[in-house]
Subunit: 257 residues, 4 copies
């Protein structure tokens, strides 16, 4: 087989180095959020960057046992107690376009919008207006806006305030706030949700769109593992019963030939 | 369906509370490792506890692209670029008894040993000797001891030093060091590896054995996501070719009836 | 990397051979159940063996949308429409010791019982009695006996009748029927369920215990894929809401230091 | 929770009915491929339809241990022997756009092409020419055409011959053959592969595009389970070593603050 290339980690008999740093030094000096930043970006975060990443990972760690990711993890923990990994993996698999995936989509929208602004020398407000108009015309959702549970997502302003105070707030945050205002005028109130806020902050921190999905998962796995531990501790196997109604073909005989 | 019970997170229109704490307060004040501790243990860690958890999560975040978990994530990223979650989940699924699962098994061994010591009023050294003798007689592996890559795992002494300096080192660490010494005498040099060190420290921090597996996954997902991001950035789909040799039945004709 | 060895399939530029047979010949002459048998056993089934495997795979293909495997697949299909594979995989992951896994466990019980009978020259009824007594004393479940939904599982007698008529019924079926009778006398009515019937028939067909789990999954994936197709066709993303009640810590303030 | 609706399976104390048919009748009379067809299509196949589905499922059951799906399953089986389901799921997760996913994409291409032909009253050859030209201009791959291993995929002509002899061959097969010819002229030789053949036949059998992915997985799980059984039987845990070369940052010191 071809040898695989990597610039992330080198492990040999004597040491493990993450992006060049000895594992012992990292363990003694870096928080886990710093390690996440280092692995993904190749450099250590400044303290205010590290605090923002801590806040993002904490923000998405859990949203209640009924969230699709948490519920899928519990269902698998209910049917299969042979493997904790199986339950965690099922929770991760529930994270996609409709649940936790809007962060990546919103980062792609931000990238597209800012590219437009630069290439055509247009104001962000103008670009925001165009993006909202397009979503309205094509009937597509604006990823990162609106929430099923929260009228105002309490996590958004915390993140943006921290980003502003840390001197990190940039065009990403500006653009999503402008889109939010435009959507309010042209469509309906669609307040930013955590996916949109996370997207804007990760953009302003210099992450690429994939990180919108990947870092959501890093944070959510904290919650998934706690949900699974609670399921094991408090509930019996096979305790989950989903009520189902059948509305298909009535009983019929099988003709044999 | 029966209503599901949970003591972890409550989300309603106005707020999200993790173990009773408002999400905004946690985002502003708690690091991600604190949130992990809070979700799993129901209380906030003391600073020295938090630092140890940071060190554990950092220690296991990645061990190179060839580790089974990282390799499985990359293989899936190579065949399926429709879903980042699919690649992460595959990496998680590779974590089990033979890879990353020894932490849980070692925590169970520690629990068994300490229970023996308490119930029968025996010294830890005596218990360690018995556990090693049993492993020798039955030909079973001591989980958390020995490593394929490292003669001396550089992460072990860092964790134990931090635990000692933080006043957290307790019977868990004592017992695994005694087992290591006994194994050296009775079987062969089997130095503690990161799974065994993590197990002893998590035990002394008050975690239950399941955490040995679950927190390994929390840490490793940081690395899995970085491996996948690198695979997407540097490699083309379907780039991975595994060399295979066939040693089964030679070509044969199918008799039709 | 070391070259991997396999005796299953050889593919080169000109052909694909499964256990030595050209893929074209198999496609023209073998049913899918035959291919499953051939892959797992290395030889083609006799017609009555093939019919039994068809019956087993059909028996476990689906048991309603509320079965943990089907429900997990639908939950993931509800949150993540980026990947059909993610939903199928989640359904597979719900299959374990408590759901669909009893087949493997029952096959191990059968193997243990028949070994006892041979080694100690005892009658099967005697062995059955001992196995039931042990389960009673240790308070462990007899895998493959009893069902949450069915008083009498309608699939059991069909399989056993087919096995008997096909001349395949052997010690596996005899032993589980004896265990069923003993359990009825010594514990309570615990009629054989599909897992126990599948285990006995697969044993008498010459499969090893792992097949009890693996072939259940082969059959169930037929149902999982149909459940997912129905979820996509009839339901909107994020339609599933699990009702949750929070019974943990009341709201509390975060002390900052 | 809302009650879930399904038209697939109804299970109560006395019976299990699949699309209205009693499970006992199906077990006695239907092959597994018939059950797959019935679950997905809501009606039983005619014999020639059943034979085609058998051929499709057999065709994709396995393509050697090095295929991404098989290799991912083996990697997980190597690291995690706690859960057979985990290894199967990892294999399923490797199936996506770049591996096994072209069937669905090709079915969407066929649907688009045939819709164009009907709506605009154009000949299939004309439509094929347009689709190939578009792929050439935009530099996109034609899904279902070309193969890394086979110059001529031996499975294609078998399927098409069976479809023709069974009176099932229709516009799907016609269109992909025309696309193949156009691509040969306008781009380069891109012979149909099994994904494209499977797509055309499933279309002519009346399946919707999702089935291109879902039924590939049904077939492949036969191979995945056999690969995993072989890995357990022939290989030790953790036997797989991927050779990795590190080309990132050289060792560097961590500045502490």
């Amino acid at each position: 087989m071809d040898v695989w290339r990597t610039a992330l980690v080198h492990a040999d008999d004597a040491d493990i180095r993450v992006r060049g740093y000895a594992i012992a030094a990292l363990m003694q000096n870096a928080s886990f959020a710093e390690t996440v930043f280092l692995l993904h970006r190749g450099q250590r975060p400044r303290p205010e960057e590290r605090r923002l990443l801590d806040a993002i990972l904490t923000a998405v760690a859990d949203h209640g046992a009924g969230a699709p990711s948490c519920a899928a993890a519990r269902l698998v923990a209910s049917g299969n107690r042979q493997s904790l990994s199986a339950a965690i993996a099922a929770g991760v698999l529930a994270i996609g376009d409709a649940h936790g995936g809007a962060g990546q989509q919103c980062m792609e929208l931000i990238s597209e919008g800012l590219e437009l602004a630069v290439q055509e020398g247009r104001a962000l407000a103008d670009v925001a207006s165009q993006l909202v108009e397009r979503a309205k015309m094509t009937g597509t959702r604006l990823p990162g806006f609106g929430h099923r549970v929260h009228t105002i997502d309490p996590r958004v302003s915390v993140l943006f305030t921290m980003a502003t105070e840390g001197g990190i707030a940039g065009d990403g945050i500006s653009l999503v706030r402008l889109i939010e205002a435009e959507a309010h005028t042209r469509i309906k109130p669609l307040p930013l949700n955590i996916d949109g806020a996370l997207a804007a902050v990760l953009h302003d921190l210099g992450f690429s769109p994939l990180a919108g999905h990947l870092l959501f998962v890093v944070g959510r796995v904290a919650g998934l593992t706690a949900e699974i531990a609670e399921e094991y501790a408090r509930e019996r196997p096979m305790r989950i019963r989903i009520p189902v109604t059948y509305d298909g073909e009535p009983p019929r005989a099988l003709e044999t030939t």
